[in-house]
C-alpha cells in the first residue's frame, strides 16, 4: 500500500469522496468555534482595542497563501518527475484558492492597518512581498488558461512554478534590503518562548486548523471537478469519433 496508488484518478476520487465530508465538517466546526471564541470571548487588547481580533482571519489566510504555493510547488515537482495527472490537476486546483487566501490576507491587513498604522497600505517588505506573490499567482493561472493542450499546459506551468518559487523567495529577501519594515515580527513561531498571549493564542490555533481543513477540502473538491471535466472531454471526443466512423461507413 503506497501513497502513489492515489495517482490513479479512480482511487483518488473514491478516497476524496470518503474524506471530503470530514474535511468540510472539520473546517466548519473549527472556523465557527475559533471565530466565535476569538471574536466574542477574548478580551480587547490593551493598545489595539478590538482591532486585534482580525488576527483570526489575517494570520491563517496569510499562512495558507504561502502554503498553497508550496503545495503547488510539490505537486508540480511530482508531475515533472513522476507524470501523475492527478498531481498536475491538484496544482491547478490549488492556485485560485491561493489567490483568494492572498487577497484575504491583504484586505484584512489593510482594514487593520488603517486604524493602527494610519494607512491602508505601506511599502513594507512583508506587504510588498505578498503583493508580488499575488502577481505570481495571477501569472500562473493566466498561463494555465492560455494553453489549450492540457499536458503542455501542465508542463509549462510546473516549470513556471519552480522558477517562480526561486524568484519569489529572492524577492522576499530583496525587499528587506530595499525598505524598512512597519509590520510586526512573526506572531507565531515554533522556536520562540513567547508568542501572542495565551488568550489569543488558542482560538488562533483553532482558526488555523479551520483554514487548513478548508483549504484541503477546497483543493480535493476542485481536483475532483478537474478530473471529471477531463473525463467528460475524453468521452465527448470518443463520441464524436465513433459517430464520424459510422457516418463514413454509411457513406461507403
Amino acid at each position: 500500500m503506497s501513497l502513489w496508488e492515489y495517482a490513479n484518478p479512480v482511487k483518488f476520487l473514491r478516497l476524496s469522496e470518503r474524506v471530503l465530508p470530514w474535511l468540510w465538517g472539520g473546517a466548519a466546526i473549527c472556523l465557527v468555534v475559533g471565530l466565535v471564541w476569538g471574536f466574542f470571548f477574548t478580551p480587547d487588547d490593551f493598545r489595539q482595542g478590538s482591532t486585534v481580533k482580525i488576527i483570526y482571519l489575517h494570520v491563517p489566510s496569510a499562512l495558507m497563501a504561502i502554503n498553497a504555493w508550496f503545495m503547488m510547488l510539490v505537486a508540480s515537482l511530482i508531475w515533472i518527475i513522476r507524470r501523475h495527472h492527478v498531481s498536475a490537476l491538484a496544482a491547478r486546483a490549488a492556485a485560485p484558492v491561493g489567490i483568494v487566501m492572498t487577497l484575504i490576507a491583504l484586505v484584512t491587513g489593510a482594514i487593520w492597518g488603517q486604524p493602527m498604522w494610519g494607512t491602508w497600505w505601506a511599502w513594507d517588505p512583508r506587504l510588498t512581498s505578498f503583493l508580488i506573490l499575488f502577481l505570481f499567482y495571477l501569472g500562473y493561472v493566466a498561463l494555465w488558461e492560455a494553453i489549450e493542450d492540457p499536458d503542455s499546459a501542465a508542463d509549462l506551468t510546473a516549470i513556471l512554478c519552480l522558477v517562480g518559487t526561486v524568484f519569489a523567495v529572492l524577492s522576499r529577501y530583496a525587499v528587506n534590503f530595499w525598505n524598512q519594515g512597519l509590520h510586526q515580527g512573526a506572531s507565531l513561531s515554533l522556536d520562540k518562548e513567547e508568542n501572542v498571549a495565551d488568550v489569543f493564542y488558542f482560538p488562533l490555533l483553532v482558526c488555523i486548523a479551520g483554514f487548513v481543513f478548508l483549504f484541503l477540502a477546497l483543493v480535493l473538491y476542485r481536483t475532483g471537478t478537474e478530473i471529471r471535466v477531463r473525463r467528460t472531454r475524453a468521452l465527448i471526443a470518443r463520441e464524436t469519433r465513433t459517430t464520424d466512423l459510422h457516418a463514413e461507413a454509411r457513406d461507403a
Partner: protein, 218 residues
C-alpha cells in the same frame, strides 16, 4: 554558436527597429516623466535613477515577444532544435543577441537621458555600471518568458504578466545601486548582489528556458 549569434544580430539590424525602436521608446518614456510629475529640477534629480532603470526595463520588455516568435513562425526554431547545438545554448545565444541589440544600446544612451532628468554628476558612473550588470539578467529572464509564451497567439500581454514579477529582484538592486550612487553613497553592496543575480540567472535560466521550449516544440 557564433554563426547563430551573427545571424541573429544581422536579422535584428536589417529588419530595422532592432536598435531603434527600443531606444526611441526609452527616450519617450524619459520625456514623458517631466510632463507627468512637473519640471522641478530637484524632484527630477531625485527620481532620475529610478525612472531611467524603469524605462530601460520597459524598453527591454517591449522587444521580448519577437525574441523567439519570428523563428517559431518560420520554422527556424525546429531546425535549431534538431541541430547538434544544445537547445540551452540556442536560448542563451538568443538572449545574448537580444542584449546586444537592446540592452547594450540602452546602457550607452542612459547617461545622455540622465542629462535630461538632471541626474547628479556622481550618479552617472553607478547608473551605467548597474545597467550594464543588470540588463543581461533582464534579457535572459525575458528569454525564459518568451520561451514560455512562444506557442500562444497574442501572448505579448501574458508575457509581460509573467516576466515583470521575475524582474523584481533585478530592479530592486539595480535601481538601489543607481540611487545610492546619485546620492553619493557607497554602492558596493547592491552592485555585488546585482552581479550575483545576473550570474545565477545566466548560469541557470538557459536550462529552464530550454526545458520550456522543448515542451512547446513537442
Amino acid at each position: 554558436m557564433r554563426a547563430l549569434l551573427l545571424r541573429d544580430l544581422q536579422l535584428a539590424l536589417r529588419a530595422g527597429g532592432g536598435f531603434g525602436l527600443g531606444l526611441a521608446f526609452f527616450l519617450i518614456v524619459v520625456v514623458l516623466v517631466p510632463f507627468s510629475v512637473g519640471p522641478a529640477a530637484a524632484l527630477l534629480a531625485r527620481i532620475a535613477p529610478g525612472v531611467l532603470w524603469l524605462g530601460a526595463l520597459l524598453a527591454c520588455l517591449l522587444s521580448l515577444d519577437r525574441l523567439l516568435a519570428v523563428d517559431w513562425e518560420d520554422g527556424a526554431l525546429d531546425l535549431l532544435a534538431t541541430s547538434p547545438l544544445p537547445l540551452e545554448g540556442v536560448v542563451a545565444i538568443k538572449a545574448v543577441a537580444h542584449w546586444i541589440t537592446t540592452g547594450l544600446p540602452l546602457v550607452l544612451v542612459a547617461p545622455v537621458l540622465g542629462v535630461l532628468l538632471n541626474l547628479p554628476v556622481a550618479g552617472y558612473g553607478p547608473l551605467v555600471v548597474s545597467l550594464a550588470l543588470g540588463t543581461p539578467a533582464l534579457s535572459m529572464i525575458g528569454a525564459f518568458g518568451a520561451a514560455l509564451t512562444v506557442g500562444i497567439k497574442r501572448g505579448g500581454l501574458l508575457l509581460s504578466l509573467l516576466v515583470l514579477p521575475l524582474y523584481v529582484p533585478t530592479l530592486i538592486f539595480g535601481a538601489e545601486a543607481a540611487r545610492r550612487g546619485a546620492e553619493g553613497l557607497e554602492t558596493g553592496t547592491p552592485l555585488l548582489l546585482l552581479a550575483g543575480i545576473t550570474g545565477c540567472v545566466l548560469a541557470l535560466m538557459p536550462f529552464a528556458a530550454a526545458a520550456v521550449l522543448r515542451v512547446n516544440l513537442r
